[in-house]
Symmetry: C2
Subunit: 656 residues, 2 copies
């Protein structure tokens, strides 16, 4: 590969972005008004008909405030941390004394639960004192620590309150004493990556190099070639005691511990673990200008994006191990496609985008965001998908064990409740995904309306973005500045768009030759009230899969802009697989507010197999089947399962 | 339903049928010369690179002839019994002193192992003495007993030697003392049905009504509405001890113990258990002229045949529980489709055929026999499929856990070795499936060449059948008799055939009005050298599935006669799903002896998606894909996987 130094861009910080968007403000408000309060109820076991969390109770027990036993998953603490992180992002956008008081009380409990030496994990404090660090492979101690660090940073950034930051600094310092190259330390790493990316955030906020070094240590030591493998040696030390499953220890691919990270070229194993690790790798590559590490990240990125990514931005093909399977294996109906995995993929993409402005990274962020992440939550913010299938037959979910992981309706809370708080922290921090800034270039990555404040050459100015994206073609930027400022505005041209127009102050801007890696670069000395108009055409695209995706042979998925469409039984009747979309008939876009305000749905034609000729015979000679032409309605995938139980299908057979 | 008395037909006994058939003699000889000897090696742990069986060693330990511990599955004994049954059938066709001597030695061991009270089961004798009948749900005691009874009857019929019959009579008498309505007896039944059908065979050979009554007891008591359920009460008595899995006890549908048999309308649960039970039910219905029971059998039959049967004659949709799932759920790639289940289905069909001459029963026998059963064994008789998928992508079997039960190549022996001996006993007794006789009517159910001896009105005569079925259209019957004999010859017209001709002594026989339930009836006073010629046209049929089979939407399977064809990678390259058969181009039949002698293969045309335009993109706008027209080769499904590892596919997309 060509050697060059990485020139890291920075996300425009969340505090500098105020979103006011027709599409997204609803969801951000939903997170603020419903999801985060609901999650607080859940953490306190006050959601009826849902699995109890006990996370706060565990913390109170650890803090010595209540009696009782630990309850829940070994990683139950992480739900509190993710909640705290979402709270931080919300407060960063808008202060809220009541919410802040609740969070401060949680932080007080965390302080009280924290041990003398800095350790903090309710499972090991309450349930297995003395057994710390004995089962890194399975028991998520560093994973929980990582989430706590992320939560602390978000809350500190929002409120400036040092207390929670001090807690995680003490904890991180303690972890640094326990792990590392020093012979007296543990030469190991967590079975679920997360600490790696968290320590890099802690490094960024504290500028303390030891956190960067510790993150690097955890990444470097992972999967090194030694016998016995770290997981096996710690297993032996604890006399073979298994927490979850023997295969979690045995299958090193599951947690990407099968070989050193620089040798890893294929995305394998548990999808969330994988993308959390890749996020850390990419961040470290950027921070340390490590080209070799970046090259590894690119290989892993390509392994996902060119061979293992669902059209909805989901990853994870199989239920077993919630894992990748193999290249081009993308079943719609048995997909795992965990919400958290798409969120982790967004983290990874964002870190890649900081290294290199390439449209593919923002494309994937958008694909995951508008489809899987949004689809992971009901419109009312009260129920959630863990698994996001691309095709559902409810009877199969109930009666064929191959589909047992697929729920045809969203669930209130989960006994493994990782996804809802992950949605909350992502959407509440959405502002930071809009722009990256590299020296004098502003990259507009996502088209979401809002007011953003930039500082270039020590000149502060505002970019106001306005659009009805993803429904309408026009996106407008207005410059508000007290003084002229020179910068490059790099506008992302999504890869689904092949017809764009740009006007600057109503004059057509010649795009030719100004596109690089999918961004149109506009270099200019900008004046107050300068206006940029970007027209991204939004054709309806019947998309095909790579010919090696056997499950989608002979099928199309309908996409418009970043939105993937699906068929639902409530609109189209049962047996969606009997439909063949008539592509030549085209599709009509209709605004429909019947169940989601201003949703753009589509109508088209399809050939449907008529059943009248078939009675009791299971097989018969081809030739006698009658078809009829029917009108079909397609809705955005993210909107599915908001109208009761029924079939859903994205990939559909077609006739030209 | 209309009440009428069941008029049971009888299978023409195996001893009266001598098969000499171009197609089948090979397999019968293979069973005799390779499979049964090979199985004997396997039972004695002498097959290299295969799981040890230890079945004979267990028996020797139980007989006090060797020291050691029980090894293997709790139902390991049944392999010996099934081997003995196959030996019996082989000896019935042709005496063989060496084989008989080996069998006699095994019988001596069985006699020595049999306990004072008649009990005989090596697991409980050797491994858990004192625990008999404590876990009927999971531990297969009565199942093993049933197989031993079947083996004994076959061997007794062949040799006339009473010893093995006495063993199982003593055992059955003992079982009769243990189980039944009497308050002091156990009111329970085996988790795996088999004893039911075996006791009915024992009743037929001994004419001892108590065996019929005991079989009826086991069927009637199954799934009766009581709390706690029998499985739960025995579980409680053994303090919750589980042998295999808790779900086997909890899931009453798994072993069809969820409701009384007369209430069961849908085929559910473990497919082999189901069809063994239905076989017993149908036999009992016939023997006792029980119309209500027969009506239940018909419902269950229809549940399978109209809604849950693969085109290959396989049953069992899901790996979990090796079970049925739900109506019209027939995945090709994750099918369970166990060889034993198809064999059990043949047993069931045969019992139904004895009750009612309806072509559908023989059709299913033929479908299962020529496709799944034959496909379950390699051409050399040395390796076997347990699972018989209709579509295989070897990489998926290796890397996606949903396919872990699917082996893309046949295995030498199994740690659960039920299928190979089941194939052996079925094929070695194939002769008894050719004809049924009801009073003065001879039903020709299968077209397999051979010489069969009948006795009607006390007149003995011979029907000689000759054909090159399933490859050629002409089937000829020759009457050899010393005196004229009046009987109905009922010739089955397979449901795939819609063009038949019959000639008697070269004169065309008018078929019209003489067809009933798929049989052409020819009533006549037959003379020596009378000749019947039946011409069954063998068109190549692109078959479609019922529109509710979502997995086969837009696909055809090619069938000719009873033979289902498939595509293999070795002939057609990788990515078989990229092919669309061009139906209008037709297919050419070619005789091919390249790997199986006189195999009829097919050549046709297909449209294949070209991959040249795709490089790294996983999804792109439809429209730019190029296709090419290729020649495809189809081979009989039963012949697949005889030429190394590769893809295989039956259901294929098509263009008209």
């Amino acid at each position: 590969m060509m050697m060059r130094l990485i020139n890291k861009a920075d996300m425009l910080p969340l505090k500098d972005v105020k979103i006011h968007d027709d599409f997204w403000s609803y969801y951000i408000n939903l997170i603020k008004d419903v999801v985060v309060p609901y999650q607080w109820q859940a953490l306190n076991d006050k959601v009826l008909d849902a699995e109890p969390s006990r996370a706060i109770k565990n913390l109170k027990i650890a803090a010595g405030k209540e009696e009782g036993e630990f309850y829940g998953m070994v990683f139950q603490d992480s739900d509190i941390a993710k909640w705290l992180e979402a709270v931080g992002y919300l407060l960063l956008c808008e202060r809220n004394p009541d919410l802040e008081r609740i969070a401060d009380e949680v932080i007080d409990l965390l302080a009280q639960a924290q041990q003398e030496d800095g350790y903090l994990n309710t499972y090991y404090i309450v349930k297995e004192p003395g057994q710390r660090w004995s089962n890194l492979c399975e028991c998520h101690e560093l994973y929980c620590a990582g989430h706590l660090i992320e939560g602390a940073i978000a809350y500190f950034k929002a409120t400036g309150k040092q207390k929670i930051l001090d807690i995680v600094i003490r904890f991180a310092d303690y972890i640094d004493e326990i792990f590392g190259n020093d012979p007296a330390k543990i030469h190991g790493y967590d079975g679920h990556q997360e600490i790696e990316l968290a320590l890099l955030k802690l490094y960024e906020i504290t500028e303390e190099e030891k956190y960067l070094n510790l993150s690097k240590y955890f990444l470097d030591v992972r999967g090194i070639e030694q016998k016995p493998h770290f997981y096996d040696s710690e297993l032996e030390k604890r006399n073979g005691k298994i927490h979850f499953h023997q295969w979690m220890v045995d299958n090193k691919h599951y947690s990407q511990a099968h070989q050193p990270i620089l040798k890893q070229e294929d995305a394998v194993g548990h999808a969330v673990r994988a993308v959390y690790m890749y996020t850390g790798m990419a961040h470290l590559a950027a921070l340390t200008s490590n080209e070799a590490l970046y090259a590894s990240c690119k290989k892993l990125w390509n392994s996902i994006v060119s061979k293992q990514l669902y059209i909805t931005g989901s990853i994870g093909t199989q239920s077993y191990g919630e894992a990748f399977s193999f290249d081009y294996d993308l079943p719609s109906d048995t997909a795992y496609a965990e919400t958290c995995a798409s969120i982790g993929l967004i983290f990874f993409a964002q870190r890649m985008l900081e290294i290199e402005a390439d449209v593919q990274y923002a494309d994937v962020i958008e694909r995951a965001l508008y489809n899987t992440v949004l689809g992971g939550m009901s419109r009312d913010g009260r129920s959630f998908f863990y698994v996001n299938p691309l095709e559902v037959y409810p009877e199969a979910c109930e009666k064929n064990e191959n589909y047992k992981h697929v729920k045809p309706i969203r669930q209130k809370w989960f006994d493994c409740a990782c996804c809802p708080p992950n949605i909350a922290r992502l959407i509440s921090s959405l502002g930071q995904y809009l722009y990256t800034v590299r020296e004098k270039t502003i990259y507009a990555n996502l088209y979401i309306s809002g007011t953003s404040t930039f500082k270039i050459d020590k000149k502060e100015f505002i970019l106001e973005q306005n659009s009805s994206y993803p429904w309408q073609e026009k996106i407008q930027f207005d410059v508000q500045t007290n003084q002229d400022v020179e910068f490059n505005l790099a506008l992302r041209i999504p890869s689904w768009c092949d017809d764009i127009k740009i006007k600057i102050n109503e004059a057509i801007y010649p795009i030719k030759d100004s596109i690089q890696n999918g961004y149109v670069f506009i270099k200019r000395s900008w004046k107050n009230k300068d206006q940029i108009e970007l027209l991204l055409s939004l054709p309806i695209l019947p998309m095909k899969s790579h010919p090696l995706v056997r499950q989608n042979a002979g099928k199309v998925a309908i996409q418009r802009g970043p939105i993937v469409y699906c068929l639902e039984e409530v609109d189209n009747g049962k047996s969606l697989y009997q439909l063949e979309l008539m592509l030549s008939s085209g599709f009509e876009i209709i605004q429909d507010s019947s169940f989601i305000e201003n949703l753009q749905v589509m109508f088209g034609k399809a050939v449907k197999t008529k059943e009248t000729n078939w009675i009791d015979t299971l097989y018969k000679k081809h030739g006698k089947i009658e078809n009829e032409i029917v009108t079909v309605k397609l809705i955005p995938y993210f909107a599915w399962a908001n109208r009761g139980l029924g079939e859903m299908q994205i990939w559909t057979r077609f006739v030209e």
